[in-house]
Structures are given as C-alpha cells and as structure tokens.
C-alpha cells in the first residue's frame, strides 16, 4: 500500500468576493504531493498558485472541496507547526539580528534557550550564513536576507516547506546560486517542498513534479513528473531532457492562455 500523501487536495475551489463581483481563484483543483517531493507551481498571474499554497498553509479558506495536510486539516497542521512558510519578501524584523530573527519562531514555539542556540547555529550553517548571526538585516544583501528567511523556516521541525516565489525579487545570478543551494538543502533534509514560481527554468531545474496552472478560473492544466536525476548540476539546464520538459511546460502555459 502506498503511504498517505503529505498534501492531498480534492476538487478544491475558492471564490473571492470582491467589489467587482466574485472572482474564482481556484476551480476543482485536485493534487497529491508525496513525501519527499519537490513540487513547483507555475503559471501566469491570477492562476491561483499562491492561493493554492496559502490554502495548504491555512492562510486562505477554500469555499468548496477538501484539502488535507499530513492527513489532517490545514488548520490542525498549522497548530501542529507542520510546515515552514517562506514568503516573497524576507520579512525580517529590522530590530532583531539575523540570529534573533531565526530564533523568533523558536521563542514562540517555546523551545528551551539551549535548544534555540544550537538550532540557530545549525540552520545558519545550512544556508551558509554562519558568522552573520549578530548582523542586522539591513547589513545583508537581498539574497542573504532571503536565505536567512529560509533558515528561519527550517529552524523548527517541520517536514513541509512551502515557498511562495522566494527568489522572485532577486537577480538571475543570485537566483541560480540559491536554486543550487536549495536543491542541496532539500537532498540533505529530505523535506517535502511546494514551490511557487514564475520562471520556467527554475521550475524545471528544481522539481520532481511540475504543476502547470492557468488563470480565470485558476486550475491545473498539466502535471509533469520530471525524469531528471536527483543530482542536478547547473549545466543540466543545457541537456536535451531539460529542454524537452521546459518545452512541455511552455506548451502547457500557452494552452492555458488559448482558452480565453
């Protein structure tokens, strides 16, 4: 028997009531994410990829359908601190040092002082920011700030990492570097990652599964299981296999647009 999926959505729909009338952000979305998967969500603005991620995190409430995280409701999963969430902006507190920022969720969750110290040291090591513990956020570059925010999401024992365009505001070179780091981190920690992005190369490079979404109403138009090996140097992006998947993603995005 297959193990229970980590995240399981069935016929999920979400309609926002706005001043201009109802907007259907998600319509009949069904998807299973298995343990250890790296799933990317890609699609144009308004396709509901961020909304879907926020539903997993209990930050939005679906209007119809069912969603389970670790076999329970998203609200129960949130209360059990089952996931770490990385937002588009680092959102570090300017009055706390990098170490203090990473300690914040640990303080909230009631970890002991000794445990806080050892965990902060460990995750700083993990995102290669050791030595920056006492620096304030403004003393770090944007890429380093975003790494600190990833460290913060890793500091507590959540098996799921939800990432909402974490590298969207960074330049290409920093982005490549962070993508490589993220893959290494994923291999070392074995976490299940859901990753929202705008970038086709990023989605193909990172994922074991790529979910292509299309807008109005937000829905899944294609799910591609990547045949690429787990070990991925940056050069893999020039291989025929990589380009073939990228092509299929692009086709998926285009077909979503043709429907309008």
């Amino acid at each position: 028997m297959r193990p229970l999926p980590v995240i399981s959505a069935k016929n999920l729909s979400l309609t926002f009531e706005t001043n201009d009338g109802p907007v259907q952000a998600l319509k009949n979305v069904s998807l299973d994410i298995e343990k250890g998967d790296f799933v990317s969500f890609i699609g144009p603005s308004g396709c509901g990829k961020t909304t879907f991620l926020r539903c997993m995190a209990d930050l939005e409430q679906p209007t119809d359908g069912a969603i389970q995280v670790n076999g329970v409701t998203p609200a129960q999963a949130r209360m059990a601190r089952a996931y770490g969430y990385v937002f588009q902006a680092a959102g570090l507190y300017p009055w706390r040092t990098i170490g203090g920022n990473i300690r914040l969720p640990l303080e909230i969750m009631g970890y002991s002082k000794a445990e806080q110290v050892s965990r902060v040291g460990r995750v700083l090591e993990l995102v290669e920011l050791a030595g920056f513990e006492r620096k304030f956020p403004w003393q770090l570059s944007g890429g380093m700030q975003q790494r600190a925010s990833i460290a913060r999401a890793l500091a507590f024992d959540a098996d799921i990492l939800l990432m909402d365009e974490p590298f969207g505001a960074l330049d290409e070179i920093v982005r490549d570097y962070l993508n490589e780091q993220l893959l290494r981190l994923w291999a070392r920690t074995g976490k299940t990652i859901a990753f929202v992005t705008h970038s086709i190369p990023e989605a193909v490079y990172l994922s074991t599964k790529i979910v292509v979404m299309s807008p109005r109403p937000g829905r899944i138009s294609d799910v591609i299981t990547s045949p690429l090996p787990k070990e991925r140097p940056l050069e893999i992006r020039e291989t025929p296999e990589f380009l073939e998947i990228a092509h299929r993603v692009r086709e998926g995005l285009r077909s979503g647009h043709r429907d309008e």
């Binding site: 930050l59 959102g91 507190y93 300017p94 914040l104 969720p105 956020p137 944007g142």
Partner: protein, 312 residues
Amino acid sequence: MTVATPSSGPSGRILGPFGSGVGDMRQSFWPVVTILGLLLVLWYGAAIWLNAAWTYDKATRSGATVTATSLVADTWAQKKPKLPAPHQVAVEIWETTVLKKVSSKRSLVYHSWVTLSATLLGFGMGTLLGTLLAVGIVFNRTMDMSVMPWVIASQTIPILAIAPMIIVVLNAVGVSGLLPKAMISMYLSFFPVVVGMVKGLRSPDQIQLDQMKTWYASASQTFWKLRLPASMPYFFTSLKIAMAASLVGAIVGELPTGAVAGLGARLLAGSYYGQTIQIWSALIMAAALAAALVGIIGLVQRVTLRRMGMAS
C-alpha cells in the same frame, strides 16, 4: 564627530518613519546663529517702535526733547514697556532664577517646578491612557468603531472652556492642587499618543502578520514580539508632541483658578499688573522647559532605536 547622512545605508535598510536628523550640529550651527541674530535685531527694532509712544508722552509732559539716542535708550529701559527688550527679559530671568532662593515665591525656578510637576504627572497619565486606548482600538473592533470618534471629538472642545470645569468639579469632590492640573495635561497629551500608537501598532505589514499566523503565535506573542517593537518610532514621535501639549495643559490649568504658583500664575499676575517683563520671562522659561523636555525624549529615542538597530 561624523556627520550622519540618512541616505547612506544599503538599499534594504529600514529607517524609522521619522528621520532622526542626528549628528548634524556642525552643519546647523551657523544657520541657527544667523536666524537668532536676525530675530534679536527685529525684536530690538520692534521694542523701539512699540514703546516710542510712551517715551514721547513722557517727554511732552516734562518738556524735554527726544533725540535719537535718548529714544533708543528710553524704549529699551522702560519699567512697563509694551514690548520689553531682550536684555530686560534676560536680566529678569537672571534675577528670578540665579539670584533668588529656589524656595522663594518670587523664584522662577520655584514656579517652573510647580508647572513641571503637573506637566510630568499629566504626561505620564496621558501616555498610559493613550497607549491603553490604542491597544484596545487595535485589538478590538468594537472599540475601533466606538472610541476613535470620541477621542477626536474630545480634542475639538477648546481646552480653555473645559479647564475651569475640570478644576471646579474636582475641587467640589475634594481634589485640588496638583491633580486637577495634571488632568488637563492628560486631556491634551493622550490624543497624540492614541493616534501615533494606533498607527504604530498597525505598522507591521501583511507578510509579517501572516508569518506569525504560520507559527501559530498567540495574540499576546504577536503584540509583544511584533506590534509593540514595530510601533516604537511612532511612540517616541507621539511622546514629543504629547510632552509639549502637556506643558500647555498645565499652564492653562493654572489660569482659571487664580493659582498662586506656576508659570501660568506668573503669566496671569503679570497681565493683571502690566508686568510685561515678567510675562515674557515666564514665556521664555516655558519655551526653554518645553525644549528641554522634548530634547530629553529625543535623546531616549535615539539611544533606544539605535539599540534596536532601527536608527543610524
């Protein structure tokens, strides 16, 4: 001493919402001196112009002729001038502060202390009340809808109209002395604190609030770890306004009671007896007091925000 330029930080740097203008004393020295000099010239000129009538009056009665020199000398040295010259005020302040015993009823230090104690008590109560109201408004939707209009309405009532009421009512229930004046100070000073703190406590952005939610933080954790620290720059700016308002409140509180002590009493007594020099020295003393108090808050603000990593 290095001169801080506010824009020199890296792009990701977050400064408080109110630039801290620290460390530019050297840059501002000459402009300040120039303006001060200009004001003194205008003041001396105005003293001649306004006091000349009395000089000519006296001369006509005694049959003396007024020369340019005697005009200037007389207008700058009258006993009850329309506008006393700066040095007259300076001499009066010197005589009533340094040369008088502090316990004397004629000491300006004594009167300043009377006003200052009411100011500080009112400021403390106003800050506490303002902060509590702001917390209530931010955390409770009903309070947000119901309290804010009253807070604003309270400030549309002229303080001069309501001050005697407060004093009379409190006197009737046996409360007199410091507290009624402090109440008027509080009435004026809680308002900037409410407005500033509501804005400050609401300053965290949606991402920071969502983050707290993903960590399943309690409301009190969100308050102590996010909202309160985020509100600090707003808090200190509110305190500066509240302190100035509090001093005005204490002085106004001394006017309708015919108080015998305090800067307000000095102003009132001065105007009864046409002692313009006394009025001006009390005014200057009040201004110096306000500047000193606001300066102290500015200092605490700088030290605190620097420790928090929120200022240069």
